[in-house]
Symmetry: C2
Subunit: 266 residues, 2 copies
């Protein structure tokens, strides 16, 4: 049933080079707006997930096992075994509070949000324990105006660039502590209580700094009903202000979170 | 670390009733367009996935196993075990052809598409074996104009309404055959070859009809480099023309497909 024929490389080249027959000619300007491709570009904020992707110490790594392969009478498919909080993923409020919203129950409208990116990468490059502070939020507002309603606030610590470098993403020191940036719990509380935010997000594995022992950023944000997104990719490719983010959270019933496809429109 | 305090019901009511402090007042009309919530509504085309969700005979059902619970020193999290083609999900071209695009490699821009809904529900209500034919596509074009560029063409057979009724979604007859609608392979080939389509989609478990033995719709679409989306929900809530769909495909490396969060903007 399945055919090989060309290598993946060649296949992809063919797919890119040979546009399919377009629809019958319609003058571009006459097309209703919805018939035009969306304005701007789509930026993928999602890391590729594989068994080597850095994961929280003690959690099982992502695993994929083929259960059928392309043949005369079958298709290729795999079974997946994973911890919910793997790869680029969502934390639902139920991650920290029994009875709170599970990942399937996050309002769909809250999965679409203006994207606010607060860059602390220069500081994080010299101090891996640095935290995104309320002052950083106020500095963003001084530059770009008040945080937009129902926005998602993402920390760009530059950590997304470290995923491919073994050991650099978790950055565990000789004493076994993760040395990674995160949100100051006071800043997370400020966003949850003083601004109209749907989610906080980080390009590290956790919205809390690696040295955090009380997980105060998680508790402040998720405990207030916000969700979180962790391990975002490509935050250097989106502007500090002006993008829209779509968080393709998974929808398994009762989940505390899970891998998400996160796309930005710029 | 986790707190209970209020029941889920009350918690959600509180979350809904108490708006967070808005950003400092900005006259609505002065806000740049990106600071306004996206126009229109977000419709969730994704079913909730749980162990009872109908699955292909022989595939493992979705499974979720708690590995930690809210306590003084831990958060709630689960491990997930699933077949890739579970719930509302994507089929990548690699599902049918070795070496073709895997789910992580689908171009992000192709995950955002004008949504075309072709309704054959009246016919399917009296004939579960009916197929979406090329004539149905041409009838859609006669009513709404040419298929837009880079669109996703979804079959609404009414089957999405059957998910909650045990046995009705797979609709297996006394002889063991699934009796479910699908794309006529010739229609899938027409879309792949004669129109500019990124994906075909169905509200059934398969883009092929249940009686199909050659899986011709899969082969015509995926074999041409299109992807597919199966088991879409809520297709009655989106218009035949005019919506935009975002397919939050998973991004595990080398995957043949997987559960996706699918959202429509109407």
């Amino acid at each position: 049933m399945c055919g090989d024929g060309v290598t993946a490389h060649v296949y992809r080249q063919i797919a890119r080079r040979e546009p399919r027959t377009p629809s019958p000619a319609v003058p571009a300007d006459d097309r209703p707006s919805w018939q035009r491709p969306p304005a701007g570009r789509v930026i993928d904020l999602t890391h590729v997930l594989n068994p080597l992707f850095p994961h929280w110490p003690g959690d099982r790594p992502f695993e994929m096992r083929p259960v059928s392969r392309c043949s005369e009478d079958d298709f290729h498919a795999n079974e997946l075994m994973l911890h919910e909080h793997s790869g680029t993923h969502v934390d639902a409020p139920a991650h920290v509070r029994a009875g709170a919203l599970t990942v399937d129950a996050i309002a769909p409208a809250d999965l679409v949000a203006p994207l606010v990116v607060i860059d602390i990468a220069d500081r994080a490059a010299v101090d891996p324990d640095t935290m995104l502070a309320t002052a950083d939020i106020l500095a963003w507002e001084a530059a770009h105006g008040p945080l937009p309603a129902r926005c998602l606030v993402a920390m760009n610590s530059g950590w997304h660039r470290r995923v491919a470098a073994p050991g650099k993403f978790l950055n565990i020191d000789a004493d076994g502590y993760m040395r990674t940036p995160g949100f100051d719990p006071a800043a997370a509380a400020f966003l949850a209580e003083q601004r109209d935010v749907v989610a906080i997000a980080s390009d590290t594995l956790s919205v809390d700094a690696g040295l955090a022992t009380d997980f105060g950023a998680h508790l402040a944000a998720l405990g207030s009903g916000l969700y979180a997104v962790e391990a975002l990719a490509h935050l250097d490719a989106v502007p500090a202000a002006g993008a829209l983010v779509i968080v393709g959270a998974p929808r398994h019933q009762g989940g505390s979170g899970g891998p998400a496809r996160v796309l930005a429109f710029v």
